[in-house]
């Protein structure tokens, strides 16, 4: 059985890999299995984790949970074309909650907190410790400032303003470059992990 399992896994692995050469029946088969199995997986996982565990799992259900059930039922009314429009109510509810929550979360953690971290003495405690540290805190202030200027929509990027915006886009490009380097690192690691599976578990070449 174990052999069989490893071979199935290897067969599907190679099916996906074969797409790199070109689209082919092997890939199409793997893709169809993937779509079906994963849709089934989420269907089942949502049922047990979101509904069963909340209502049947022997604990006392919070009465407010029924609001969710009510909204869910309204959502399913979409299946009846004539009154399908009622499903906009739960949708409006979800969108309203999301907007409210995100507004606050991002305002506090991504805006306030990051502005706070940017405002610091230009010559910080590490100043003079090394060349890197000395330049570092100045770079942070200048980079964040000019980067924000780039995102101005209502002013033409001309003159000194334009020059600052230009500096900003340079910083953003360095950020992208660093991000790119890290992503390469990450993706290669994943491939290494997969090749480890093929060489070790499937072919048994490496102990």
């Amino acid at each position: 059985m174990d052999h069989f399992a490893v071979w199935i896994a290897a067969f599907l692995t190679m099916g996906i890999v074969s797409f790199l050469y070109k689209d082919n029946p092997w890939y199409k088969l793997s893709e169809a299995i993937f779509v079906g199995i994963s849709a089934g997986y989420w269907f089942i996982a949502l049922f047990w984790d979101s509904i069963y565990s909340k209502f049947w799992l022997g604990k006392e259900a919070d009465p407010f949970l029924w609001v969710g059930v009510f909204l869910g039922v309204l959502m399913l009314l979409r299946l009846i074309p004539k009154i399908g429009w009622i499903s906009r109510w739960p949708l409006a509810f979800i969108v309203g909650c999301t907007s409210g929550l995100y507004l606050i979360n991002f305002l506090a953690s991504n805006l306030m907190r990051q502005v706070q971290a940017t405002i610091q003495p230009l010559f910080g405690p590490d100043f003079g410790a090394s060349l890197y540290a000395a330049v570092g805190s100045i770079v942070i202030v200048v980079g964040t400032f000019s980067g924000l200027v780039y995102f101005f929509f209502s002013k033409e990027h001309k003159g000194a303003f334009g020059a600052t915006a230009k500096l900003g886009i340079w910083f953003i490009m360095i950020t992208f470059g660093a991000s790119f380097g890290y992503t390469v690192m990450s993706r290669m690691s994943l491939l290494i992990g997969r090749i480890d599976f093929l060489l070790t578990d499937w072919l048994g070449l490496i102990r």
Partner: protein
Amino acid sequence: MSTRMKELLTVAVIAVVSVILYLGKVQGWMTGFSFSPTVSYIVIAIITLALLYILYRTIQGKLVDRRTVFVFVAVGVSLPFFMSISQKMPISPEVQQLYEAVAELPPGSKVLVSFDYDPPSAPELQPMAQAFLQYAMRHDLKLIIMGLWPQGPQQANMALEVALADPEIVAKNLEYGVDYVNMGFQVGNEFVIQRMGSDFKSMFPTDYSGHPYEELPLLKNIRNFSNIDFSFNLSAGYPGTQEWVQVAVDRYGLKMGAGNTAVQAPMIYPFLNAGQLNGLLGGMNGAAEFERTVGLLGKGTRFMLSQSFAHVIVIAFILIGNVAFFLGDRKKNQ
């Protein structure tokens, strides 16, 4: 040859190769196969020559097909598996910072470890998880494990299995429920973190295998984050480190370190810089460095050679592409 014939031929070749591979595995023809250092250097030289050939072709104006690039990546990542070349590795400050934060915890401190990833990201995060759990157990830290991703607790169990097999840890006779617990998965993303901030138990009435909260001695005095001394978050995306920082660190003042996939890591640096995090492990390289700092070499270290190769190959292709671009440009200008 018609397309149909080609397809049939491909299927036949794959079938034959599969049979050979199967027999090879059953008979153990090549188990434990590896290159000697000399062979390793010859292989490296061949790869370099091949890259130079591609450069030559590109200069002549023939861009290679993307599939050639694919083959190089596959070969360049696979071959180092058979090589044994040792590499020196410097430790970056963010890894050192995490190590120090953990090392200064007194024995018996309660550490919350959240496993927020699934099997596809395991190559990067599993080595970190293993090294962290093993180090924590060797230093008598109490571990409370949980997951915001459904598959997280399974990954945690795999890492625990490895850690508990360590002879030094076996000697400590650690007991489930007293020295470590796995609380399992809970749906609700960042809202789980928020509820834990005020009431741990309401989110995890039972542990992964169904033991009630009250019956686990380790959890006796744990009501919320104020009872946790340190937390370590292993994250591959949403929900992950950003959400932990937004809720647990910013609102409840939890002390936290993080291990991230390399893709996530750059986004986490502003949090590190703002002092919201105590240390960060980024990607497999972070894992390897951490393994070195705590002196527990594992898969992270072993895979670093492949990682080096892969990076060099990608850089080589960027350079080759740019050579083609500049030469092409010059031609256009003439």
